[in-house]
C-alpha cells in the first residue's frame, strides 16, 4: 500500500468537508485512517483532522490526493530517511534501523519507495541512483554502503486483520491445544491449501524427520502429487530418513510398517547415504532408479524445488545438503520469494529460521507434537499464523482425507 498524510483544517464538520473527503477516498479505491482529530468547541472554532490516506498504487493515491487538494487537504511533507555508511564489511552503522517482516516504505528525496524484500532482522541498504531500498543481512553488506539509521522517514504497514470471518486465520488467534477438537481446524487448513494452490499461491512445506518416524510419508507424497507442495525445506535428517525408508523400509533401523528393529538396521542409514553419494545426488538417484518412492523422490518427479540445510549432528551428509548455515539461509531466501502459505511440521528451529525469512503477509500453519514449539512459532506477532498441537501422522492423514474430498 502507498500512503500520504493529509491535513484538513477549518469548519470541516459544519461544511461536511470531512465526510466528503473520507467518502471520496473510499469511492476512489483508497482507504484512510484518522490519525488525529480536534473538533472545535465553539461554533466559530475551526476543526482539524490528520488523515492517513492509503491506496493500492501510486497512481490511485496521486489521483485521490489531487482530488482531496481541491477540498482543502494539505499534504504533510514527509521527512527523508537518514543514511549512514557501513563502517566495515559485514558491519552496520550504529543505530541502524532493524527491519520487521511487515511491508515497509521509506521516503527518499520526498517520495516513497518500498523496501524489498519484507524480511525481518535486516538493515536497509539504499541505492540512491537506482532508487532502490533492500533489506540485507550482515554478510551482504560492504563498507561504505548507505544504510538507514534511526526511524525517521520509515513507514511500516502492518497486515490488517480483516473483520470478516472469511478464513480460519481471521477468527483464530491462538494455537489449538492438545485437548481440543482439531477436525474443524484441519478442514480449514485444507481449504486454505486449496485456495493457495488454485489461486496461484505458492505453498512451502518445512518438514522435520518426524514425518518419516511417524509413518506420515505416504500422506506427504500425496500432497506433493496433488500439487500442494511447491517448495520443500528440510534438513539432512528428513531426506535421509525418507530415503532409508524408501530403500530399506526402515527409519533409523526400525521397520516402519512393523515398528520392530531390523537386523543390522543401524547400518541402513549409512548404506543409504552411500548409495546417494554414489549416484551423485538425490535427483540422479531418482533418475537411475535407485530411489523410487518417498518424499524426496516425489519432489524430484514433480519438479518440487527443495533446499536441505545441514546441522552439526548430521550423518553424511547427503550431496544436496548445504552445510554452510549462511549459504543455506541465502538459498532459502532466494527460493522463498512469492511464498503465500507455509506449512511447518515437526521441526522447531528450522521452522523458526524460515519464519524469519517470510513476509508478514504469508500465512503460516504450524504443526508439532510439542506445544512449546507451536506456541514459539505462532506467537511471533504475525496475524496469519495458526498452530496445532498434534502428532504428524494423524494430522497429515486427516489433512489428505480433507483434500481428497
Amino acid at each position: 500500500m502507498f500512503s500520504e498524510t493529509v491535513i484538513l483544517r477549518g469548519h470541516i464538520i459544519d461544511s461536511l468537508i470531512l465526510p466528503k473527503v473520507l467518502d471520496q477516498i473510499l469511492t476512489q479505491g483508497g482507504d484512510f485512517k484518522i490519525g488525529e482529530i480536534k473538533i472545535g468547541q465553539n461554533r466559530v472554532d475551526q476543526s482539524y483532522a490528520r488523515i492517513e490516506v492509503s491506496a493500492p498504487s501510486h497512481e490511485v493515491l496521486d489521483e485521490i490526493v489531487r482530488r482531496l487538494r481541491q477540498h482543502g487537504a494539505e499534504v504533510l511533507e514527509k521527512a527523508d530517511v537518514q543514511l549512514a555508511p557501513a563502517p566495515a564489511d559485514g558491519v552496520f552503522p550504529k543505530d541502524f534501523y532493524v527491519t520487521t517482516n511487515q511491508q515497509t516504505f521509506l521516503t527518499l528525496d520526498g517520495t516513497e519507495i518500498e523496501v524489498r524484500p519484507a524480511l525481518m532482522d535486516c538493515a536497509i541498504v539504499v541505492d540512491h541512483d537506482a532508487r532502490r531500498a533492500t533489506a540485507k543481512k550482515f554478510h551482504e553488506v560492504w563498507r561504505g554502503m548507505e544504510i538507514v539509521v534511526g526511524h525517521q522517514g520509515i513507514k511500516v504497514m502492518p497486515v490488517q486483520r480483516s473483520t470478516a470471518r472469511t478464513d480460519v486465520f481471521e477468527f483464530m488467534s491462538t494455537s489449538i491445544a492438545l485437548e481440543k477438537p482439531k477436525s474443524g481446524v484441519i478442514r480449514e487448513m485444507a481449504t486454505e491449501l486449496k485456495r493457495a494452490r488454485d489461486g496461484g499461491g505458492k505453498i512451502l512445506v518445512v518438514a522435520g524427520p518426524a514425518i518419516v518416524h511417524t509413518g506420515a510419508v505416504p500422506h506427504l507424497e500425496k500432497l506433493i502429487e496433488w500439487g500442494y507442495v511447491n517448495l520443500l525445506f528440510g534438513g539432512n535428517a528428513l531426506a535421509l530418513h525418507d530415503i532409508e525408508n524408501a530403500i530399506f523400509g526402515t527409519s533409523l533401523g526400525v521397520h516402519l510398517a512393523r515398528g520392530s528393529l531390523a537386523e543390522r538396521g543401524h547400518e541402513n542409514q549409512m548404506r543409504a547415504i552411500n548409495m546417494i553419494r554414489e549416484a551423485g545426488s538425490i535427483s540422479r538417484a531418482v533418475e537411475s532408479g535407485t530411489l523410487k518412492t518417498g518424499i524426496m523422490a516425489g519432489c524430484v518427479r514433480h519438479g518440487v524445488e527443495f533446499v536441505l540445510a545441514g546441522s552439526i549432528r548430521d550423518d553424511g551428509p547427503l550431496p544436496e545438503v548445504i552445510t554452510d548455515t549462511i549459504e543455506a539461509q541465502d538459498a532459502m531466501r532466494e527460493k522463498i520469494t512469492g511464498v503465500t502459505t507455509a506449512l511447518m511440521m515437526g521441526t522447531m528451529l528450522h521452522s523458526m529460521a524460515v519464519a524469519n525469512l517470510l513476509p508478514a503477509t504469508a500465512k503460516t500453519l504450524c504443526v508439532d507434537v510439542n506445544p512449546a514449539a507451536v506456541s514459539k512459532l505462532t506467537e511471533r506477532g504475525s496475524f496469519q499464523s495458526l498452530g496445532l498441537v498434534s502428532d504428524l501422522e494423524p494430522f497429515l492423514r486427516e489433512l489428505t482425507m480433507a483434500l481428497a474430498r
Binding site: 469548519h11 461554533r43 475551526q46 477540498h71
Partner: protein, 268 residues
C-alpha cells in the same frame, strides 16, 4: 442606511473568455449595457441605500462587477486575489480606493484565490463561501481566521454558476433562494443544515441569474426572467424589481455582481 459600491461600465465589454457565458464572438451591446447599468443605478438609488462609485479603469472591463472587489465587514476590507490574470489588475485599484476611504485593508496570502463577495455571502451569522471554480477552499479558512465567524464552504459543481452569488441569495428573514443543482450533494446538505426556509429556483429561471439579486430589506432587485420566483418572493412579503440584464449576462454577471455591500455586515 446600506452603502453600496458600483462601478460605471465605461470600459465594459467582452474582451476575454473566463467563464462559459463569455464569448468574444457575441459581444455586449455597449449602449444597451450602459442603459441597463443606469437602470440598476437608478433603481438602487430609489431604494433605501447610498451608492458610492469607483472610477472605472481602461483595460479592466470586468471592474464593473464590484462584488468581486473583495469582502467588507465593518471597517475591514479583504481584497480579492483573482484566479484569472485578466482580472488580477483590478485588485490594487479597489484596495487603494477602500484604503483612501479609511478601511483597513487585510490581504489574504497571495497563493489563495478568493473572489470577494462573489463567493462569500452571509446568511444569518454564517458566512457561506463557494469554492472550486474561482475561490480556493483554503481562502475560506483564512477569511474565518480574520473574521472569527463560522464559514460554511460549499463546492460549486456547475461551471455556469461559478460564484456562489450566481446561485444563492440569502434573505434577511433567515432563509435564502437558491439553485440547488449548482452545489454538490454535501454543499446542499450543509446549506440545508444551516438555513431553514429555502426557496428552490428552477433551472429555467436560474439561468437568467435570478439568484444574482441585491436584497435591501424587503426590496429585491433581480434580473428579469424569473416570474415564478418573483411570485414566491411576493407571497413572502418581498417587493421585487426585475431589471433587464442581458448585456451583463453575456459576461456571466447581473445585479449582484455589479454591486458590493460596503460593508456586507457592520459587525459579527
Amino acid at each position: 442606511m446600506r452603502q453600496l459600491l458600483l462601478c460605471p461600465p465605461d470600459h465594459y465589454g467582452i474582451e476575454y473568455e473566463i467563464n462559459p457565458w463569455m464569448s468574444r464572438a457575441r459581444g455586449a451591446e455597449i449602449p444597451v449595457a450602459q442603459a441597463q447599468w443606469k437602470g440598476l443605478f437608478n433603481k438602487l438609488s430609489s431604494l433605501d441605500c447610498k451608492i458610492e462609485l469607483i472610477p472605472p479603469r481602461p483595460k479592466l472591463p470586468d471592474m464593473v462587477f464590484t462584488a468581486n472587489a473583495g469582502l467588507t465587514i465593518g471597517r475591514r476590507f479583504i481584497p480579492s486575489n483573482f484566479r484569472h490574470e485578466e482580472r488580477a489588475g483590478e485588485a490594487p485599484h479597489f484596495a487603494r480606493w477602500m484604503e483612501e476611504r479609511g478601511y483597513e485593508v487585510v490581504w489574504l496570502p497571495k497563493n489563495l484565490y478568493f473572489e470577494g463577495e462573489g463567493d462569500a455571502l452571509f446568511g444569518g451569522d454564517v458566512l457561506f463561501c463557494g469554492y472550486k471554480f474561482r475561490s480556493d477552499i483554503n481562502s475560506h479558512r483564512a477569511v474565518a481566521d480574520i473574521l472569527g465567524c463560522l464559514v460554511i464552504s460549499v463546492e460549486l459543481v456547475d461551471p455556469r454558476f461559478y460564484h456562489i452569488d450566481t446561485c444563492f441569495c440569502p434573505l434577511p428573514d433567515g432563509g435564502a433562494f437558491w439553485f440547488p443543482d449548482a452545489f454538490d450533494e454535501y454543499g446542499q446538505r450543509a446549506i440545508r443544515d444551516h438555513l431553514r426556509d429555502l426557496i428552490d429556483v428552477v433551472e429555467e429561471e436560474a439561468v437568467h441569474f435570478s439568484c444574482n439579486a441585491v436584497v435591501l430589506g424587503r426590496e429585491i432587485v433581480l434580473p428579469k426572467g424569473a416570474p415564478k420566483l418573483v411570485t414566491t418572493l411576493k407571497d413572502r412579503g418581498y417587493t421585487c424589481h426585475p431589471l433587464p440584464m442581458s448585456e451583463f449576462l453575456k459576461a456571466g454577471g447581473a445585479c449582484k455582481c455589479l454591486t458590493m455591500f460596503m460593508p456586507q455586515r457592520e459587525k459579527l
